[in-house]
């Protein structure tokens, strides 16, 4: 009897254990950074022998890192505004479009998501360098907006697809103009998706490394590029603390985005 029971339960327990290990494996790099940021040694210590805030103190007193951080924030803010506006326009336009043009235009608008980032980075670098768009915030902002557009379009489109068209028709037939209908009927219903996609596009830009690497020149580096170029030359540990700062910023952006995304109709990020 007991062996029979064990036989039935064993696969379940094995499966649960395996899954727990995999889930831990996925979270491991993020978790590993936490103790390291309080350590003063470059080699890994799960429990720092002399825990301190040295790295954080060093980080907040280094103007270099703060300048990079603010530069990245500035770019991400620009991307958030441009990508959310353009993406919402595109999603609204697509939702009104009928006929054979639609799949073609939709494919074109979502294409930046399919093209490998390195290919776009190289393409943008070669063209942007001719127009003075390499080495400044504007170039990176524009390129990141291209990358963020599909995310916004997908999120807002999926919110739009759940709307009841008869509401807009009713509004129109009651004498409201296109703009009034949009402001009073459509926008309130997609507000959540627009907000969530703003958070995602901010985060996408704040964290992007490949395109930034090509477009950043040599003056002010965006935070991910500065990290990238410091990894090979790290002599005193400071990157774990910076990683913690980035993780915290990301969590501040992503937690509301995921919660609202789950609350709203869109089923979380469709990335």
């Amino acid at each position: 009897m007991t062996t029979l029971l064990a036989n039935k339960r064993l696969p379940k327990i094995a499966l649960a254990t395996f899954s727990a290990v995999i889930l831990l494996f996925m979270a491991m790099p993020v978790v590993a950074v936490v103790p390291m940021s309080f350590s003063s040694s470059l080699s890994f210590e799960l429990f720092p022998s002399a825990p301190s805030f040295t790295q954080y103190r060093q980080l907040f007193s280094s103007s270099d890192w703060i300048v990079s951080f603010l530069f990245s924030i500035r770019i991400a803010f620009g991307v958030m505004i441009c990508a959310t506006t353009l993406g919402t326009f595109a999603a609204l336009g697509l939702s009104r479009l009928r006929g054979s043009w639609k799949p073609f235009l939709q494919g074109f608008l979502l294409a930046p998501y399919i093209v490998p980032t390195i290919v776009y980075a190289v393409a943008a670098y070669s063209v942007f360098s001719r127009f003075g768009l390499v080495g400044n915030a504007l170039g990176i902002t524009l390129a990141h907006t291209v990358l963020a557009l599909p995310v916004v379009i997908v999120l807002v489109s999926s919110a739009l697809s759940t709307l009841d068209p008869s509401l807009e028709e009713a509004s129109n037939s009651l004498g409201a103009g296109t703009i009034t209908t949009f402001m009073r009927i459509t926008l309130p219903q997609i507000r959540l998706a627009v907000f969530v996609s703003a958070l995602f596009s901010f985060h996408l830009s704040f964290d992007e490394v490949v395109v930034s690497l090509f477009l950043s020149g040599s003056n002010i580096l965006p935070l991910p590029v500065k990290i990238w170029s410091s990894i090979s030359y790290e002599t005193t540990p400071i990157l774990p603390a910076i990683s913690m700062v980035i993780i915290l910023v990301s969590l501040c952006l992503l937690t509301p985005a995921l919660l609202l995304g789950a609350k709203g109709d869109s089923t979380g990020p469709k990335l």
């Binding site: 696969p11 499966l15 395996f18 899954s19 995999i22 889930l23 831990l24 494996f25 996925m26 979270a27 491991m28 790099p29 993020v30 590993a32 950074v33 390291m36 080699s43 890994f44 799960l46 353009l86 993406g87 326009f89 595109a90 336009g93 009104r96 009928r98 006929g99 074109f108 608008l109 294409a111 399919i114 093209v115 490998p116 390195i118 290919v119 190289v122 070669s126 942007f128 524009l142 390129a143 907006t145 291209v146 997908v154 296109t178 964290d207 490949v210 690497l213 090509f214 991910p224 990290i227 990238w228 990894i231 990157l239 990683s243 980035i246 993780i247 990301s250 992503l254 995921l258 979380g268």
Partner: protein, 289 residues
């Protein structure tokens, strides 16, 4: 003027574009112009320059074909992508299955472990792997202190490091489609199989596994496609022999400054990705809007 407009309008209407709806045009024009100038034009320039210098030439592609280094890099890219796909499938399949058997609230809670790392900086996760995998890193220290090994293992600057890093980053791309495939299996199908006398192994092999095949193909193609263009992980966790196409493109653009040649390589990567992507669309019809 009016005639031209009406003729153009008529042509567009023929193709199903309702020009009467000026609002649609007003909404779509800004994003379309933006993407045409900042996305399509640069990409077109890459493809064009790789063929015309200034006359039509295939010299850059011939160079890729003749030099065995590039053959090695293409082979390596395909191999690493395939191995990443396989390890993601092996690790992701049981996990996704387990998640699908849980109650909805528990599943949502555990999915945080999948979603959050997925969205957190790839660069930082790879940096953390350096801390864990280097000679005196976390993994080696733990294994040494447990007495499982006598000297540190070489876990990075080689293929092992690249595979660990890439599997870690790309597992969610496998788990999400698999999970949605498992969730799509109606529970009464499994119950029917059980009530007809099949034990759980047989039910799994005859019902669950075949019905999860769409998830397997979607997940595998997704991981493979993303792997092909991967840049950060091979650069940080691999050695010179683990260079993938992306890394050699970066090398030619930023170090060698041989742009047309880098463009030819980028074009090969783009075409390779698109072929697999169209396969993905063909196999997974209308799964996502």
């Amino acid at each position: 003027m009016f005639r031209i407009a009406s003729v153009v309008g008529g042509m567009l209407r023929l193709k199903g574009f309702n020009l009467a709806n000026w609002g649609t045009l007003f909404l779509l024009t800004p994003p379309l112009i933006f993407l045409s100038l900042l996305f399509a034009a640069p990409l077109f320039q890459v493809i064009w320059t790789s063929f015309f210098a200034p006359d039509f030439t295939l010299q850059y592609y011939e160079r890729i074909g003749q030099n065995p280094i590039y053959g090695h890099i293409f082979w390596n890219t395909a191999k690493v992508s395939a191995l990443t796909t396989i390890s993601c499938l092996i690790l992701g399949y049981p996990t996704a299955y387990f998640l699908s058997t849980l109650r909805s609230t528990t599943r949502q809670l555990l999915l945080v472990f999948v979603v959050l790392p997925f969205l957190l900086s790839i660069l930082i996760r790879n940096y953390a792997w350096i801390l864990l995998l280097q000679t005196n890193g976390g993994v080696n220290r733990i294994l040494l202190s447990l007495g499982l090994i006598s000297k540190p293992l070489e876990l990075m600057y080689n293929e092992t490091g690249v595979l660990i890093g890439m599997t870690n980053v790309l597992l969610p791309y496998m788990i999400f489609p698999l999970l949605s495939a498992f969730m799509a299996i109606p529970s009464d199908v499994k119950e029917a199989s059980a009530s007809l006398g099949a034990n759980s192994t047989k039910t799994f092999l005859r019902v669950t596994l075949p019905m999860s095949l769409p998830g397997i193909s979607a997940g595998c193609l997704l991981v493979f496609i993303v792997s092909l263009g991967y840049f950060v992980t091979p650069a940080l966790l691999g050695g010179p022999r683990q260079m993938m196409i992306s890394n050699i493109i970066e090398f030619h653009v930023r170090q060698v400054l041989n742009w047309p040649f880098a463009f030819a390589l980028a074009n090969v990567l783009l075409m390779g990705t698109l072929i697999w992507y169209f396969l993905y669309i063909k196999i997974i019809p209308k799964q996502r809007s």
